[in-house]
Amino acid sequence: MSARSRARRTSLPLGLVLPAAALLALALAYPLGRQVVLSLQSFGLAQQFGAPPEWVGIQNYRDLVGDSYLWTVVLRTVIFCFVNAALTLGIGMGIAVLMTKMTSWVRIAAQCGLLLAWAMPVVAAMIVWQFLFDTEYGAVNAVLTWWGGDYESHSWLASPMSFFAVATLIVVWMSVPFVVFTLYAALTQVSDDVVEAAEIDGAGGWQRFVHVVLPSIRPVLLVVLLLQLIWDLRVFTQIYTLQKAGGITRDTNLLGTYIYSLGIKGGDFGTAAAAAMFMLALTVVVTAPYIRMMLKQED
């Protein structure tokens, strides 16, 4: 190989990666930098409209950490995230496996249904869900009452536990299709020979699944889990809409809605930025083990 072609090999990728890198720098580094700066300032509504901000050092962080409410919200967010990610992955895995057993036209029908659920814009879907769970005129209450339950005028969003149950249902419903499609694709790549060999060696259905199928789709599983964790940590629209439909805002805030209520609603952008930094750190901490596992796998 000549020196010339080696040089080409090293510089072409660089050229290809530069535009993307520049875009990333613009789209990520600027907002992030701005957020760090904001979190060190006392930045309120007056600053939003042009008054010079005042530097306050780490005061915003100190206020936040000293407020027990932040820790309540963090704990709530982490629990919500893990429960939702686990449910989504479990249900998604179940449906994906089921799909490998379906005849093709049933599978296509199932895929269409999932695709429609997935393609539905969040806000439109939220309106439908709100109608379903409406206290006075909701279909859910009507059906449960018809079955003999005492659900007339039952407020689904009033108590925090039931609020989060509804939120979980919606979030899981929206995320399952992605998991199903990805895992189904991975499952079709599992070599039949290996599964058959295991069967001949006497492995039962469950054993084949745990010891043969799961390890072969592990890389995909890890990526899906990682994405799901990140998405469920940042969940915002569903919670925000449900809070407006009912529910006690303070008892149902997750980090996303808490930051929004500090900043946009409360007009305290400095503290909101500090809380957002906190959320970033939390995301890194929660996802770090999975990223490490993924990196190890690539070695």
């Binding site: 050229g15 530069l18 535009p19 613009l26 209520s261 007009g267």
Partner: protein, 425 residues
């Protein structure tokens, strides 16, 4: 290889260029007042402003200012503070003229979001403008917003239902509460409301708080703090809880946005709503004209038989400080305060922004109730950060939790803490 590098660099520059082009603005205005012609954007909130008024404003403005256009964009009241916070701070996105709730205005005036209208005040109506509204939008002698309309809620009731229950129109608070409870008892239905009071509706709940002598917050020197735990406030909140649990069939966690559906389902005996809701009830498409014929109205009575202190509702209009079309925006504001425009609002049950135009309301039952309700109406605390208290939904949380049967004393103490925290920031 060199070509590759150059290409890559060109690609980067192109990308940067595209983004830069997005951010550049293209207005080359000559004076401070902005260009002679422009496409003006006016934000109006909710269904309050009747269509007739909107059409009149658009046509008249475009006739008087050839070459310019005026577009009305309807915003939802819910979440308005958030939307204004983001939109008003951006020169590219800001609407030129905005309607803002009279209790929300101080937050934006103190932040410098609105243009100073002091100079234009005499032309817009001067002393004739509703004084409480002008005061609320004035800081350090400068006025940043003008009244748009006022309107306090009064009580709509079903004449037939009151008659069936052998009840007279209540003349004191005590009679009112008793009548509401009696109506509910008579019906026996779980979702029937003797008095319709959705749990998040603190704006109508406020009347019971104030009637008992309580308030949300009080000023001591420079500091504001929550006063929901005073004995008077607690008494008022107890009345609210009683009304909710014994007279209302509305959900504890719903807001007051849609009274039409339950009313037209025959599930409401009495409810506090602004006058323009009557138009929605009589509408053949969305309302129920037959039931609406049974509607009578009265101003909520206080303990002493005089009208109770209800929330002085209403709106201000203001010009966005970042709008490049200051002069044209002021012209639109002037049109919205003109007798023609205000007359249309008055016909629809909204109290005009000028005192001299009150007669436009007429003198039927509705006009009398409007005027009586306004006679003792009260504003939310005049603290600079009050809109933040509204924005963070402290009061929706409080009233909804009381409606769910929570301990009033504990909940009031918690809410006080949060209100104090927001107001002292």
């Amino acid at each position: 290889m060199r070509i590759n590098k150059t290409l890559a660099a060109a690609a980067v520059i192109a990308l940067l260029g595209v983004t830069a082009a997005c951010g550049s603005d293209d207005d080359g205005d000559e004076a401070d007042g902005g260009p002679k012609t422009a496409d003006l954007v006016v934000w109006l909130n909710g269904a309050d402003t009747p269509q007739e008024a909107r059409d009149w404003l658009k046509t008249t403005f475009e006739e008087e200012n050839p070459g310019s256009t005026l577009t009305i964009e309807e915003q939802e009241w819910d979440g308005l503070v958030e939307r204004l916070t983001t939109a008003l701070s951006s020169e590219d996105q800001t609407p030129d003229v905005v309607e803002v709730g009279n209790t929300q205005a101080p937050t934006f005036t103190t932040a410098g979001a609105f243009s100073d209208l002091t100079g234009a005040l005499p032309d817009l109506g001067g002393d004739d403008l509703l004084p409480g509204f002008v005061e609320g939008a004035t800081i350090e002698g400068k006025t940043y917003a003008v009244p748009y309309y006022a309107g306090s809620t009064y009580v709509f009731y079903r004449k037939d239902l009151l008659k069936q229950a052998n009840l007279e129109v209540p003349t004191t608070m005590e009679e009112f509460v008793d009548a509401a409870v009696a109506l509910k008892k008579k019906s026996g239905e779980k979702d029937f409301s003797g008095y319709w009071l959705p749990g998040q509706d603190w704006r109508d709940g406020a009347a019971f708080l104030w009637n008992a002598g309580g308030d949300f917050a009080a000023q001591d020197g420079d500091e504001w703090s929550g006063t929901l735990s005073t004995p008077e406030s607690l008494e008022g909140l107890d009345t609210y809880q009683k009304l909710f649990t014994e007279a209302s069939g509305a959900p504890a966690d719903a807001n007051e946005e849609d009274p039409v559906t339950p009313f037209c389902a025959g599930n409401i005996g009495m409810m506090s709503r602004p006058g323009w809701v009557y138009g929605m009830l009589t509408d053949p498409k969305s309302g129920c004209p037959d039931l609406a014929k049974q509607v009578g109205v009265f101003a909520l009575p206080g303990t002493d038989g005089q009208p109770a202190p209800v929330l002085l509702g209403g709106s201000d209009i203001a010009v966005s400080a970042k709008s490049p079309n200051q002069d044209l925006a002021r012209k639109a504001v002037a049109l919205m305060l003109s007798e023609d425009y205000q007359g249309i609002l008055a016909q629809n049950g909204l109290t005009p922004a000028k005192e001299s135009l009150t007669s436009l309301l007429g003198d039927d039952e509705f006009a009398q109730a409007t005027i009586a309700a306004a006679s003792n109406a009260k504003l939310t605390p005049a603290a600079a950060n009050w809109a933040v208290v509204e924005g963070t939904r402290v009061l929706e949380d409080l009233f909804s939790q009381i409606a769910q049967g929570g301990d009033v004393e504990d909940l009031a103490a918690d809410a006080d803490e949060r209100i104090t925290e927001e107001l002292q920031r």
